[in-house]
């Protein structure tokens, strides 16, 4: 066990997963959040976020964790991570008032010499403008991925650290904590680290936008994007882990935030952000894929159709619905009867009076004219297309993320649509 006591201010998705990684690396942790209900739940072993493996990690290391709603408890910490949520508005712009208040509160509670590390997504220039001495203030790039948060917090590829003086030796407690993750540490000036975070997200969006653009074209050309993506991943300039799966637009809030930040800064400085705006436009365009496909095949053809929707979360393994493509679709299905199932998000999230909260995937399919699988939860992949076909009244299946096997769906008599493939091309796909 390490003698370094690490504080996390904000038991958010980011905060609790980062705290879990610190616990798993052998550190003692103080988890602070002003919300007493969150703290009580954590004390009982209930994390405020759905993440694979998170409850287990927290339970195994519970003896080294102290959850508190009293900010003064952070005074015992050698370093404190600021891990609050930074909310965004409809355009993706950040509201920084909350994080500023939190940093002010934490600063007042800290012991002399304790280090503050900002872990949230903040715009370039934010960290340097804080009223804290540079030798005790750092900005660390978080690379949280919803659904893989614990794994990524435990095993980061590298740690990008914004510093007042990148060539100075790190404070002992911070150096000890970061070195426990056994990965390269890249100190750089604050602004570089803040832009690095944005750059990472821009690269991800760029890859997704390439996939979306070409997958849509594939749907018209008889090509299959699912055949192309693996070939790209074997190109070392692109890489095995490249984001090449087409999707229904950018969601979750964090990528959108950085795109909005780049546009705002480019406007202020007169630099070109045309490509970023094109990514945003492409994202909005692809978000409508399910609605347009449903409209063409069912909504414009049947009287009072019933639509089954599987998945409400913005991606698998999370409870978050921020900018979820499923919710965007359902907002436009308000005049129709819908049958909904999500393993985690309750159907009450949908303000549709004609919504039926199904008890299972197959219950959702019962009597529906079409099925839309809007979140790629792994359990949806175990559905038997033959059973789905039996339950459905119609034949249309929209499976943008290819959770089901196209050929099996076709064999079951379903009219199967997925991103990057023309339905007529399914027979020749494999």
């Amino acid at each position: 066990m390490s003698d370094v006591l690490v504080g996390f201010a904000g038991m958010t998705h980011l905060g609790v997963n980062s705290a879990a990684a610190a616990l798993a690396r052998g550190f003692r942790v103080v988890g602070y959040d002003p919300d007493r209900e969150v703290i009580e739940a954590l004390r009982r072993g209930g994390p405020p976020a759905v993440e694979p493996g998170l409850p287990d990690v927290l339970r195994r290391h519970a003896s080294r964790a102290n959850y508190t709603a009293d900010i003064a408890d952070l005074s015992r910490c050698d370093l404190v991570y600021i891990a609050s949520d930074v909310p965004t508005d409809g355009s993706g712009a950040s509201d920084l008032a909350g994080i500023r208040r939190l940093i002010e509160g934490v600063s007042g509670a800290l012991a002399r010499g304790a280090v503050v590390v900002v872990l949230c997504q903040v715009p370039p220039g934010f960290t340097r403008a804080l009223a804290l001495p540079g030798e005790r203030l750092f900005y660390q790039v978080e690379t949280l991925v919803f659904g893989e948060a614990v794994e990524r917090a435990m095993h980061p590829e590298r740690i990008i650290l914004g510093c007042a003086n990148p060539s100075a030796t790190l404070p002992a407690a911070l150096g000890k904590f970061l070195s426990a993750f056994a990965c390269p540490i890249l100190p750089m000036r604050y602004e570089s680290a803040e832009v690095a975070k944005i750059a990472i997200n821009c690269c991800l969006v760029s890859s997704v936008s390439v996939a979306n653009t070409l997958a849509e074209l594939c749907e018209h050309l008889g090509a299959a994007w699912s055949e192309i993506a693996p070939a790209l991943k074997l190109d070392r300039r692109i890489g095995q882990h490249a984001y090449l799966a087409p999707g229904l637009g950018i969601a979750g809030g964090n990528l959108e935030r950085d795109l909005a930040t780049v546009c705002k800064l480019a406007d202020a400085h007169g630099t070109d952000a045309g490509v970023v705006r094109a990514w945003i436009a492409n994202s909005r365009h692809r978000r409508d894929w399910a609605l347009q496909t449903l409209h063409g095949a069912v909504l414009s053809k049947l009287e009072d159709p019933v639509i089954a929707v599987l998945g409400l979360a913005y991606k698998q393994n999370t409870h978050s619905t921020k900018n979820s493509a499923s919710l965007a679709l359902l907002a436009h299905l308000a005049p129709f009867r819908v049958r909904i199932f999500d393993p985690v998000v309750p159907a009450t999230a949908i303000p549709n009076p004609r919504c039926h909260a199904a008890s299972s995937e197959l219950d959702a399919c019962e009597g529906a004219d079409a099925l839309a699988i809007m979140t790629p939860w792994p359990q949806f992949g175990t559905l038997d297309p033959v059973q789905v076909a039996r339950k459905l009244r119609g034949k249309l299946v929209l499976d943008p993320y290819a959770v089901l096997k196209a050929v099996a769906c076709r064999a079951a008599g379903l009219e199967y649509h997925t991103l990057g493939l023309n339905p007529d091309g399914i027979r020749t796909e494999q």
């Binding site: 409508d288 609605l291 347009q292 409209h295 909504l299 308000a334």
Partner: protein
Amino acid sequence: MITHRWPAAQTPERVVLLGARGFIGSSIRKQLDAGRIRNLALSSAELNLAEAAAADKLAAALKATDAVVMLAALTPDKARDIATLMKNLAMMQNTCAAIAKTGCAHMVYFSSDAVYDGAVSRVSEDTPASPQDLYGTMHYTREIMARSLTGVPVLVLRPTLIYGLDDTHNSYGPNRFRRAAQKDGKITLFGDGEETRDHIHVDDVAALTLRCLLRRSTGILNAATGTSHSFREVAEAVSKQSRIAVEIVKTPRGNPITHRHYDVANTIKAFPDIRFIPLEEGVARVHREMLEKS
């Protein structure tokens, strides 16, 4: 994207059609009558909007509770010169002056997809307006004039290529092809008719207008089907209807091929159950109507 001021469909107190005798106006009027919606249909015979006295005359005819549909315009088949532009602007000036005086509950301005740059191949309501000729400039200016009316909820409709039996225009597409097939037994294409365009039946345009009137919709909406066809496909659809063999003739291409597709997601979001007449069905309908009429 448009916004519905009325969450559910309601019947407007009265709809005033300006340019009611035209191709689109007649179709809207028919649907208003079919829906038993009170309307006042004004054409240039009753009210010449280009005249100086038109503003007062129109103001006297209008009520503050009216929904006004402004269709009146001198179209490019009549003239494309600066004088026509100025007359069209004068018509809108008088219309706006009348509405400013009397007020109205809703205004639907019939613009055109000529407000978009013709070189743009995929168009949505987010596509920046960038008119390339006086006709497009006229419509875009009139859109801005309409939107400048204080306190009036305005919807701008931007229809793409409209076809139907009563279309007096003879522009390249279903109408001209039908007439050519009837008259000469021959349809002449530019090149091989590779260019793709979105053709919308006039009844669909009228139905969309009615939907917007019944929901008091505001904003900008393209009137398009979302499905584009090559001119060859259009020619073949027309040819299929003809009792005589129709020759489809290629000619040497003078201009590069351009395409136009519409993203109609905003229309679907506004009216999720909306249906458009497929081109082949629409062409057949026009043909049937033509035979009935003759």
